[in-house]
Amino acid sequence: EPEVTQTPSHQVTQMGQEVILRCVPISNHLYFYWYRQILGQKVEFLVSFYNNEISEKSEIFDDQFSVERPDGSNFTLKIRSTKLEDSAMYFCASSRQIEAFFGQGTRLTVV
């Protein structure tokens, strides 16, 4: 069964550093998303991406964040100048129509 894959599964970074989280969406999907889940809290929408551009972003998704689809398969989330409060699980998701499928997540720990 096709699935969304994310790498790495766990990333530890120093405060102020830049991180890139990677995702391979399901191959025939058209819409791509990043969500965030702070430990023990609900899943929060960050950004949606379609046709090589951002279709919507949340208030959380400020200038510190950027997304890119560098080739036909990868979808990346870049976080610049990481802060302690960026520590969370980051989930990539993709959809072809309305059903969204999530990856296993990347646990980002900022120290």
Partner: protein, 114 residues
């Protein structure tokens, strides 16, 4: 108005019992209501979903009941099993834009005791 309120926060059910999780929303533009199941350290997995043109949808032991006038929907897990122990999230979205910005509830941690 974008919020989805979910209750209870946690739920303990005996094996074989019925688990019921409730959600309520305000935004009448929402037209798709999925439920996701999440095990520790894993991503949310789509469990079952409903559109507001039906009042109930059943898939195996899982049933969504939808009350459009009350703007409420609920997940019923029949014959609950220990393997159902997980966190359940309701969500809602307006699918008008083609993409799917999900608004999640706060989650319900379900424990099914043998």
């Amino acid at each position: 108005q974008q919020q989805v309120k979910q209750s209870p926060q946690s739920l303990i059910v005996q094996k074989g019992g019925i688990s019921i999780i409730n959600c309520a929303y305000e935004n009448t533009a929402f037209d798709y209501f999925p439920w996701y199941q999440q095990f520790p350290g894993k991503g949310p997995a789509l469990l079952i979903a409903i559109r507001p043109d039906v009042s109930e949808k059943k898939e195996g032991r899982f049933t969504i009941s939808f009350n459009k006038s009350a703007k409420q929907f609920s997940l019923h897990i029949m014959d609950s099993q220990p393997g159902d122990s997980a966190t359940y999230f309701c969500a809602a979205t307006s699918h008008s834009g083609g993409y799917n910005k999900l608004i999640f509830g706060a989650g319900t941690r379900l424990a099914v005791h043998p």
